[in-house]
Subunit: 204 residues, 2 copies
Amino acid sequence: MPQGKPETVPEDGLTTRQRRHRPLTVVHTGTMKGKSTAAFGLALRAWSAGMPVGVFQFVKSAKWRVGEEGAFAALGQAHEASGVGAPVAWHKMGEGWSWIQRAGTETDHAADALEGWRQVQRDLAAERYGMYVLDEFTYPMKWGWVDVGEVVETLRDRPGFQHVVITGREAAPALVEAADLVVEMTKIKHPMDAGQKGQRGIEW
Amino acid sequence: MPQGKPETVPEDGLTTRQRRHRPLTVVHTGTMKGKSTAAFGLALRAWSAGMPVGVFQFVKSAKWRVGEEGAFAALGQAHEASGVGAPVAWHKMGEGWSWIQRAGTETDHAADALEGWRQVQRDLAAERYGMYVLDEFTYPMKWGWVDVGEVVETLRDRPGFQHVVITGREAAPALVEAADLVVEMTKIKHPMDAGQKGQRGIEW
């Protein structure tokens, strides 16, 4: 879309300018990694545009995304020191791995995820951020810990100008339907196919 | 691959540790945007891991990626001020749009792109960065401005520990073959289909 020419013009009664300045719901899904990486790339751009960034890490353990967390901490400090960019808030919600539902701790994970979503709802109502990254948020929906219909409704009715990016595999059809932009990351080739393990600076 | 379990173990005589610490050639391709965004997400992570980052913008006009450029400038300054992360260098090579080959300026674009690649070669030889982002670099190859075989050879023979990420549509088969990791961004849904135009904080 680099030409900036829409393929169609909707009959929604909005001017181009109004349409241009509409908050977006973005979903990064698919089986390949890169979903979160791309989401943090979007957050980086939002930060540059002066939009406060709120990151909510669902499900994954705290040792993941340490790279991004450090970088965004530096960006938040740069904002405090010299006013460039915008404030950054980083929240880690879950424990354990997203693909393992450990017996005995499931209840806690579910409660944690739901409480994380409740905080997102409160922040959206308060218009606290300009860019929300709800990392791995498809899983709590998939597992029934957070109601998809409620998410769609909350996003649809959110006030002001707040972009929301949701990452994770197997995004619910209702969420895809509600989203403005959906990108699927597809694997063509991966070094682990050739026996290579993850490494610092690339995988985390 | 979050479990960190390779599907196969190659018979290359390397230990797991040696294989783990191997510089990667990564290609982000496909028709959907998000290729560069994801590349800058990787660069963000590399920065956090203390790897000097070198960005080379091929082809696109200087008004693109201003968001990322500003954010990485802040990260570079954070490194200078407090030692976190790593140094950042940002180079803009081309003028004009990647999908328009303007009559009369083609020669300059071709020469600019080739000179950009020559600088990348010099920097690789000098082991200047730990992470190279060659943004939109598939196009100079596609248009014959930079020889694909030479790129593959240079990347294959590069010294030390330097990751290279290349973005752009229609990556050459030889490049895909030579890459360790190839991700294709696929469009499922895009707001411009509904008549929306690009906007600050999302598109740039």
